[in-house]
């Protein structure tokens, strides 16, 4: 290697271009909807047009007679076999988990719920026949507002009531913290409903062969899906094979066991023929689980010098009509994050999960943590304004100092590492914080109609889900381990099997880098296999920024086992006692001084031939390992956003955005930076553009991408990203990165808008901060006489 060689000696840390790209940029990708099986039939679903209605009758006879139609079904056809779609996270002992049939039988509870199905020779014929199904509905009153859904006179979503659960957590003496506190602030924030909108709509294909079924699905969780489809249908698990081929994004929306997946399987079983269903975007917006949707009441008590005494949070969380896979657990993931990076004496948290006649909510990028981060970072800015303390200074007075790690927070988590000072210092410099503050003061002084605002978000999150024992203590229905296997092939090439299931994250590349370093084999010689329960039989899949922090370490454990076995074989080949055999950079040699060495590829061939293996050593050089961490991973960072807010039109322009993230050791900076960019876009989108809206009758009015505004390139700024690095307490030093950008950016943007308008008396703008809402907030503040012109702050 020459001195000018830029590539690091290790693969970890190198900006390797992605292996995945070759197929993705050339159109050779295998999306589920690309799969065509001989004789396959197309399924179309009829969905409820009512938010809430009793089903008196479903008549599919006319549809059955339409050209090209092979079968048509109503809920009655599946009532005996469909069971209930699973909720894997019963968060309290007395939680109400209503039955959730994949196809409605007697009542529908949200617009988009599946009521009937048609199976036809092609998708056009299936769509035609859907309109020939006659359903007799008896409309019932919708339940749309969680703030009134628990009133005694509210209509009921389920006969048992509208409350699913109440979950509480408390640590420290919260009454003492608030009693006689010099400053107490209370705020109510709205976390609007979001629609995940992965670019690839869902699709499912099922091929029955005898009593065995292969299911291709655009899913994040092939392993979990297989297990739960077996559990709810009674089809033996060994007869189900689930394949997640190339999957076009998920963001949590494909972390689900869906009605459509179960129904496609059951239809294939009934007909004994391969069937396929592909969703339209309008269907997806209605019937892919939504995210967020909370009302947050947050109270903070502080001393005059800004020291936080206590924090009290009361959440109302909209479950939608049913509890899906992790619906009730999502707000709880936030429960441990409202206190964020700050020290305090006491903390209390209460969450009430409430049913409405809307699409169920569930995991969406960040899942609970963006909501928590938003509330704490918003109120920290208000507290700073209230106390007249510079908002970064207020944060620094309260955050955990870098020398205090590991630190057990008031919420009971032990943060293993972090350096908030370093990330903040870097962000300040890149942002040119002081200059922007000066410009802001000048523009405020001159009464500039376009105000400058600076938004801060010093965030952390818990990810890398995670320790099985902790998940068990939170009543989660599964473990949080991950699996990996290494197969050294006779030619010296390597197959890596992973239980993580990538859908855009670049695991084929990053996992190759990790294994290349561990085994000392070329990056190019490694092939990563995933997303098929027959090829990668064990796994807990990809969500919650867990793949690297859990699955990456499973790879290391599997490599250890390969090296351990190879050492025994090498010892025989080198004619050296095993304790003298050393391994480095893919080569075994003996310290005993024989001068001979063997490469790991040579050992692999010897293990395959098995001619001279030591006694008791099995042929082949393979390994299997699972890894279950003993803690979550805690990425953090400081994000700074500058907005220009036109006070005459309410239009918000992001002028600059700096994100400094500490995600521990970085395996591939290119991939990490990309994850941050995409996360920022989704967090900014929540702040400025997106909202899933139901009208007063419970109709979703944002069913298309013309109504639900996911931002285009022209709607978003360019980002400045950088990193600091405090290694996590695991063998690779890695943390997660998938959700960080989304968690951090929403409060940074809204804080910037409010910061721009605070001199005009604006204290909050409800998301999404559209020009109309910003303008109305300014008008309301001006009308109430709290603007600077009237002398108030």
């Amino acid at each position: 290697m020459t001195a000018t060689e830029e590539r690091p000696a290790t693969q970890i840390g190198a900006a390797r271009l992605r292996k995945e790209d070759a197929r993705l940029i050339t159109g050779q990708t295998m999306w589920t909807d690309n799969i065509t099986l001989p004789g396959h039939l197309h399924v179309a679903f009829l969905r409820s047009p009512f938010a809430h209605a009793r089903i008196n009758n479903v008549n599919v006879s006319e549809a059955k007679g339409m050209p090209g139609v092979v079968a048509a079904f109503s809920g009655a056809d599946f009532a005996a076999e469909q069971g209930s779609l699973p909720c894997a996270w019963p968060v309290t002992e007395d939680i109400l988990i209503p039955a959730h049939p994949a196809m409605a039988t007697d009542e529908v509870r949200y617009v988009g719920e599946v009521v009937a199905a048609v199976v036809a020779r092609d998708r056009y014929a299936a769509a035609d026949a859907i309109s020939a199904i006659d359903v007799d509905y008896e409309p019932l009153p919708p339940v749309l507002d969680i703030r009134t859904a628990l009133d005694e006179d509210s209509p009921k979503v389920h006969a048992e009531g509208n409350k699913s659960f109440e979950w509480v957590f408390a640590n420290g003496d919260i009454d003492e913290a608030f009693r006689d506190a010099p400053v107490v602030l209370e705020r109510n924030y709205r976390q609007q409903r979001l629609i995940p909108c992965a670019m690839e709509p869902r699709a499912v294909v099922c091929q029955p062969i005898g009593d065995e079924y292969t299911i291709w699905s655009a899913t994040q969780i092939p392993h979990v899906l297989r297990f739960l489809l077996a559990a709810i249908t009674g089809i033996p698990e060994q007869n189900l094979r689930v394949i997640a081929p190339d999957v076009g994004g998920g963001f949590g929306s494909k972390l689900q066991v869906t009605a459509e997946e179960e129904l496609v399987l059951l239809i294939a079983r009934k007909l004994g023929r391969p069937v396929k269903w592909t969703e339209s975007r309008s269907e997806g917006n209605m019937a892919v689980h939504h995210g967020r949707d909370q009302w947050q009441r947050i109270r903070i008590a502080a001393d005059r010098d800004g020291r936080i005494r206590g924090l009290s949070v009361d959440l109302l969380a909209d479950m939608g009509a049913y509890l899906m896979l992790v619906t009730p657990g999502v707000p709880l993931l936030g429960a441990f994050m409202f206190n964020s990076i700050y020290k305090m004496d006491a903390y209390s948290f209460r969450c009430t999960g409430i049913f409405t006649t809307k699409m169920p909510t569930d995991a969406y990028r960040g899942a609970g943590r963006p909501e928590a981060t938003f509330a704490i970072e918003r109120i920290m800015d208000d507290l700073a304004a209230e106390l007249g303390i510079e908002p970064l200074e207020l944060r620094e007075r309260n955050w955990i100092k870098h020398e205090e790690f590991p630190y057990t927070t008031i919420a009971g988590l032990t943060y293993d590492s972090g350096n908030y000072e370093a990330a903040t210092a870097k962000a300040r410099e890149l942002f040119d914080y002081d200059a922007l503050r000066r410009e802001q003061a000048e523009r405020n002084a001159s009464g500039d109609p376009v105000r400058l605002g600076i938004g801060i978000s010093t965030f952390t999150e818990m990810c890398g889900l995670a320790p099985s024992r902790v998940l068990g203590s939170l009543s989660y229905g599964a473990g949080g381990w991950e699996h990996a296997a290494i197969r050294m092939l006779p030619t010296g090439k390597v197959e890596v099997v992973t239980g993580s299931s990538a859908h855009g994250q670049g695991h084929e590349t990053a996992w190759s880098q990790i294994v290349a370093d561990q085994l000392g084999v070329p990056f190019e010689d490694i092939r990563v296999l995933h997303g098929d329960t027959q090829v990668a039989p064990k796994g807990m899949d990809t969500y919650g920024s867990r793949s690297l922090a859990v699955g990456g370490l499973a790879l290391v454990a599997a490599c250890d086992k390969v090296i351990e076995k190879a050492k025994v074989i090498a010892s025989a080949m080198l004619e050296s006692p095993p304790q003298y055999v050393e391994f480095a950079n893919g080569v075994f040699h003996s310290r005993a001084g024989t001068g001979v060495s063997k490469t790991i590829q040579e050992i692999a061939l010897a293990a395959f031939a098995a001619h001279d293996l030591p006694d008791g050593v099995e042929p082949s050089l393979d390994s299997d390992a699972t890894y279950d961490p003993d803690n979550f991973s805690f990425p953090h960072g400081t994000h700074l956003c500058a907005t220009e807010v036109d006070t005459e039109t309410g239009f918000v322009k992001i002028r600059s955005y700096v994100a400094v993230d500490d995600v521990g050791v970085v395996v591939n900076p290119l991939i990490v930076e990309g994850q941050v960019h995409g996360g920022l876009a989704q967090g900014i989108a929540q702040a400025l553009y997106e909202e899933g809206v139901y009208d007063d009758d419970g109709n979703l009015v944002t069913t298309t991408l013309a109504d639900y505004l996911i931002p285009s390139a022209s709607d978003l700024p360019s980002y400045v990203t950088s990193r600091t690095e405090s290694p996590a307490a695991n063998r690779l030093g890695v943390k997660g990165v998938g959700e960080a950008g989304t968690i951090a950016s929403t409060p940074a943007v809204v804080n910037a808008i409010v910061d721009a308008l605070r001199p005009l008396g604006v204290r909050d703008v409800t998301m999404p901060c559209t020009p109309e809402r910003v303008w109305r907030a300014i008008s309301a503040a001006t009308a109430s006489g709290s603007s600077e012109r009237n002398g108030a702050a």
């Binding site: 940029i25 050779q28 999957v247 996360g679 989704q682 991408l705 285009s712 360019s718």
Partner: protein
């Protein structure tokens, strides 16, 4: 049924199609060009963008019968000369790879085709012009930062096809 004659990625096809058949369904299901995906049903996302007689169109908003007599280029044929089979990449494809301008890759075929049309129209766009020019193509993964970089890189390399 209506008879159409369409050239797709250099190969001529004659087919009988329903008048209501969308071009994108014709490409995917009749011709087997599954490289062009479908991301929405309202012409907002641009995932299905192809070149029709050299100009980008969203193939979900064109009927197959309207493409009669046309020359269609999809992501599978944009690199020319047999495309992928020869291991050949279009400069914009290469730029997307080198700038990490894709993650899940679902929007990528449409984004690359739209970028090709953008650079044909404006070989030296500013970053703002790139962002405006790709406004009709939605990506949920990348935040667009690296897509802009990739198009800029391709432009600097002198792509005008």
């Amino acid at each position: 049924m209506t008879r159409i004659n369409v050239t797709v990625d250099g190969v001529s096809y004659v087919d009988q199609v329903e008048p209501r058949l969308l071009l994108v369904h014709y490409l995917r299901e009749t011709v087997g060009k599954t490289g062009t995906p479908i991301g929405c049903d309202t012409s907002n996302c641009g995932a299905c963008t192809v070149l029709m007689d050299g100009v980008s169109v969203k193939s979900c908003s064109v009927l197959a019968v309207q493409a009669d007599g046309s020359d269609i280029t999809t992501i599978e044929g944009i690199s020319g000369n047999g495309g992928v089979a020869n291991g050949q990449l279009h400069p914009i494809q290469r730029a997307f790879h080198e700038e990490h301008a894709l993650q899940c890759g679902y929007c990528t075929p449409g984004m690359i085709i739209a970028a090709a049309d953008l650079l044909r129209d404006n070989p030296h766009p500013t970053d703002d012009e790139i962002r405006e020019g790709l406004e009709g193509n939605l990506c949920r993964c990348t935040g667009y930062e690296n897509i802009v970089r990739a198009v800029r890189r391709a432009a600097q390399a002198g792509v005008q096809s």
